[in-house]
Amino acid sequence: MVQDRKIRVIVAKPGLDGHDRGAKVLARALRDAGMEVIYTGLHQTPAQIVETVVQEDPDVLCMSILSGAHNELFPRVMQAMKERGIDDVLVMAGGVIPDDDVPGLKKLGIEGFYGPGSKLQDIIDYIKAHLKR
């Protein structure tokens, strides 16, 4: 059970944008909160992200994107996860994601959305409350 071990989180940067400030700040905060954090680095394709998920078997996948490509890239990630039979990973998103796009992404199974101005503690609390295993 999750309670007996560290929560494992992948922080991933899909797409081409190099805005990694938020992703790195989050990675540090989650590590300081006692979680085990794997940061993918930049420019990850959906296939690469899902491959990392398969390899690392995380409890949580956090994806950060600020280029506006979320509507194209997130569905590809979720589709590939489905094809690999992964359904117990909490998937969250951050970066610049307009409110209008959120309902569509929620339908794909992405749950927590944390854009600019979010509190790190809120993200930590959300993760702890919404783990799927």
């Binding site: 081409l16 394709t45 979320h70 790190l120």
Partner: protein, 537 residues
């Protein structure tokens, strides 16, 4: 007497670099200063008060709004809109695939085409981008790094087609790869071949495009990635020194190329800290160029810079408040003596800016220039005890970083050891923790937060039709160009990359036969390889 009534709001007052600020500054704080040595007249060494003798009394700063969206047609329209509204220079934002040298339609470009800037694949796109705009009359800044030499070559080729000779063109290419490894992350090749390309570009421009600014040595992105003002100052100038040393190592005389180096800084929230940063930057550069690199031409010692207000300071909550943030930041840049300025639009924490928001941003500059009176005299804060003390302090702190970078073996070794990357990640995290704890107030975010979001802002949307159009246009160009000429030109690029000949000449030949940015970068990758970043945080 200190009593209960004047107890201070905080135990310590600090600026964004963590420098403690005293209640009051007086003559004692600047008693070691010497006017001629430390400040000098504007336009004279060490240029602390400004790089020109008359500054804004002769010519205001260039109002240069960074713009790029969708296809070349879309951005051409935005450029004309900005010119109609009084903008005095152009600044091109390229979409991410161009920055990385991927052709539109490559698998890495899914969802990215035309999103964060304009899609440029071939010379045909550049012809459209500047159609109806006289390159002999306007100066253009291009934010491009890995493929900078290619986009410069395209600009030269467009100029030729318009009948404007290369030596009449004015503008800037960012061409600053070091800060890409450090902060902005749109690198392509490893550092060493990247530096070679930059020196090739400097050499080419010195001979062929003498009025062009060959590098815009940029602190902006370092700051956006989370550095403090001191780190921005120190890391940017250290990059500048590295470029000077690389060009000198090639055998170039410092005075032949240094006058065309330019800088690009952020304008962030702490008003006086920013002003002190610009003043300190000018003085450090002037001294280093004269004393270390033995420059003789005063123009080599003159640090000219562009400023952009801090994108990262923009908030999604109550976005109209961003107009006020931008105004204060822009004012700091002007009081700090900037040569050109981009003011961010209030909706940029949410999307690319709408026309309405861009116009307010431009109007902000016009109000500062024409209504506030701040441009009437030079360096109006010069002589302020606080500003002079802080200018000295910023310089002192930057010097500590220069020593540290030297100990690490210079900028490129320090990059490979992730020195800058970790320094910036640490500062970004510290700042965020201060916001979370409430030590750092952000209005309407962690302070005076209200539940209402304010009026709904109309956002600009880039639809999927942009990608379709761009991919189709590239296919049309490829169908009508001379393929044999293209592959011969690409062979010459490869051959030059393997040897030591200046690469810009074969690149110019390749763009003229409509080789794409992606094809030229692809040819160079075969020889140079690609950079791999350590995923550290």
């Amino acid at each position: 007497m200190e009593g209960k009534d004047n107890a201070e709001r905080r135990k310590a007052f600090k600026n964004l670099s963590g420098i403690e600020i005293k209640r009051l500054y007086d003559a004692n704080d600047v008693k070691d200063g010497k006017y001629e040595r430390d400040l000098g007249q504007p336009g004279e060494y060490p240029f602390t008060r400004g790089v020109y003798p008359t500054m804004y009394r002769t010519r205001l700063w260039t109002m240069r709004q960074f713009a790029g969206l969708g296809t070349a047609e879309d951005t051409n329209k935005r450029f004309k809109y900005l010119i109609e509204n009084g903008q005095t220079g152009l600044s091109v934002a390229f979409h991410l695939p161009t920055l990385y040298g991927w052709e539109s339609g490559h698998e890495m470009t899914v969802g990215e085409i035309g999103k964060e800037g304009v899609a440029i694949d071939t010379l045909a796109d550049m012809e459209t981008l500047f159609s109806g705009i006289d390159l002999g009359k306007i100066s253009t800044s291009m934010t491009i790094n890995g493929p900078a030499s290619i986009l410069l070559a395209m600009y030269v080729a467009v100029g030729e087609k318009q009948g404007v000779a290369a030596d009449k063109l004015t503008g800037t290419i960012q061409n600053d790869i070091l800060k890409e490894y450090i902060a902005q992350k749109s690198w392509i090749f490893p550092p060493e071949p990247s530096m070679r390309l930059i020196v090739d570009t400097i050499e080419f421009c010195t001979k062929k495009v003498p009025k062009w600014n060959t590098i815009s040595i940029s602190g902006y992105h370092i700051r956006e990635a989370g550095s403090t003002a001191v780190q921005e100052l120190a890391f940017t100038l250290a990059d500048g020194f590295a470029y000077v040393e690389a060009a000198m190592k090639r055998g170039m005389d410092v005075d032949t190329f240094a006058p065309r180096l330019s800088f690009f800084f952020n304008a962030h929230n702490d008003f006086f800290e920013e002003i002190a940063k610009y003043r300190a930057a000018r003085r450090i550069w002037a001294r280093r160029m004269k004393e270390r690199y033995k420059a003789k031409n005063p123009e080599s010692m003159r640090l000219r810079f562009h400023t952009q207000t801090a994108g990262v300071s923009l908030q999604a909550q109550e976005p109209e408040n961003n107009i006020i943030r931008v105004t204060l930041q822009a004012l700091a840049a002007v009081l700090g003596g900037t040569q050109s300025l981009h003011t961010n639009s209030f909706d940029e924490a949410l999307a690319l800016p709408s026309e309405h928001a861009v116009k307010i941003a431009l109007r902000t500059q016009q109000i500062i220039a024409h209504e506030s009176g701040v441009a009437n005299t030079i360096d109006p804060l010069g002589g302020s005890y606080y500003v002079e003390w802080l200018t000295n302090k910023m310089e002192e702190e930057a010097e500590k970083y220069f020593n540290k970078i030297d100990e690490l073996g210079g900028v490129i070794p320090a990059i490979k050891k992730n020195f800058f990357q970790m320094e910036i990640a640490r500062s970004a995290y510290e700042y965020q923790k201060q916001v979370e704890s409430g030590d750092q107030s952000v209005v309407a975010v962690n302070f005076q937060k209200t539940s209402s979001c304010g009026p709904k802002v109309e956002l600009l949307k880039i639809g999927p039709e942009v990608a379709e159009k761009q991919i189709a246009k590239l296919a049309r160009v490829k169908a009508t160009r001379d393929d044999k000429a293209v592959s011969a030109a690409l062979d010459k690029v490869r051959a030059a990359a393997k040897g030591t000949d200046n690469l810009v000449y074969p690149i110019l030949d390749a763009v003229k036969v409509y080789a794409s940015v992606g094809e030229i970068i692809g040819a160079l990758k075969e020889v140079f390889g690609v950079h791999k970043e350590d995923a550290v945080f």
